[in-house]
């Protein structure tokens, strides 16, 4: 039995229309229609995640090497197979402790990836970029105010970086009267830092708002288009 592409498109359109309306109904408050859409979305997404985990990871990286790999590949695949067995014990609360070594492996490797990623992906590049903002060899020829503008720009960025970091410095000494206060210099830097943080968060907010607005307009236009087709 083959369903025509037009019918598939119509069914997809109706489903999409209903789901959009149901979620839009949240604007009048939490209601059964929104809940139906939310639970349906959660169910389909969870099922889809399980399917992707099976077809994209477990089958090619674990099952195929075990079934049709050479002895070396089979031996290397047997170790994660043991780990998968341990993790599956987490399904039953009584046996869940048996899964801890596999979870420890995941957490250990995850921590190492986080440290490596944090160092090579964020810390080094961000510090490097702050330093490069003062590199006179990198001044673009068309830059307004030329060299002075370049250094001024780098100075503002450096001030923002240092003061933002100072804002998150919570080390303080207790006074004889029992009150706790930060060092006065840190207080001043933190005050400047909060302005830079507020500006950065404002820019992020505007970006997220623009993206959300685009998604909202796309959905409303698809609703209107679907109503027009009927």
């Amino acid at each position: 039995m083959v369903i025509s592409p037009e019918l598939i498109e119509l069914i997809t359109g109706i489903l999409s229309f209903l789901i959009t309306l149901m979620i839009l109904s949240y604007l009048i408050g939490d209601n059964p229609l929104f809940r139906i859409a939310a639970y349906l979305f959660t169910g389909v997404s969870a099922g889809y995640i399980a399917v992707v985990a099976w077809w994209q990871v477990l089958l090619p990286k674990l099952v195929y090497p075990l079934v049709s790999g050479n002895p070396m590949e089979k031996a290397f695949a047997a170790i994660p197979l043991f780990g998968v067995g341990l993790i599956l014990m987490k399904i039953w609360p009584r046996l869940s402790k048996i899964g801890n070594p596999a979870m420890a492996y995941l957490v250990g490797v995850g921590a190492a990836v986080a440290i490596g990623g944090g160092l090579t992906g964020t810390l080094f590049p961000q510090i490097g970029a702050t330093i490069n903002a003062f590199d006179i060899n990198l001044v673009p020829s068309d830059r307004p105010l030329g060299f002075v503008g370049w250094i001024l720009n780098g100075g503002i960025i450096l001030l923002g970086t240092v003061t933002s970091l100072a804002y998150f410095h919570f080390g303080a000494n207790a006074k004889p009267d029992g009150s706790v206060k930060r060092f006065i210099l840190i207080e001043i830097l933190a005050w400047v830092g909060q302005i830079f943080i507020a500006i950065a968060l404002g820019v992020i907010f505007a970006g997220v708002y623009a993206a959300a607005l685009t998604a909202f307009i796309e959905r409303i236009s698809s609703l209107l288009k679907f109503i027009g087709l009927l």
Binding site: G43, G83, V84, N100, A111, A212
Partner: protein, 210 residues
Amino acid sequence: MRVLTAVIAIAFGLLVLAGYFIPALHEWQTLLLNWAMILAAAAAIVGVFNLISVHGEKIRQREKGNLYSALLIISLVSTFLFGLVQYLTQGAVRVLLDDLMSTLVNGIIFPAEAMLMGLLTVTLLYTAIRLLRRRANLMSIVFLITAALILLGTATLPFGDMPVFSGLRTFITQTLAVGGARGILIGVALGTLTTGLRVLLATDRPYGGK
């Protein structure tokens, strides 16, 4: 068991970390990351089973909202089964299952994600107004003025472009915001490093050991 789990976390964590800095360990690092990927996929499937068991229990106990739980389980199991047998079949059945999966993705997942994102438009606006009412301090005012200036500089205005806004937007996004964002990013990276090191030194053991 507690010592064993700590030893596993530390040993494999250090080996993967060393792979970033010692080229000779790159292959081992890739192998260990592949194993982690397999375990993470298995953990995702365990998570899905847990979701089924929690909602199954709600239905069994006839708790409030158990109809929603039934809907969740039906949609989850049917999507999983369709997706599982999809690649095992051939011919007309395969075409039918392909169509069904694409209908589920394009008819439920995509519109739901897009509309939930779209709902943010209203919630964010409401939150911004509430922020001014509840905490009208310097930080809130700077935050809202910046957001408004960026939106004004980005949007196509009915009376045409205003160079003041676009110039101001460039200065804010490429200089002022960069400083703040860089401070936040370095702070996050330092926090990640500390948390990672606490795990690798077994000070924190979120995998079951105390």
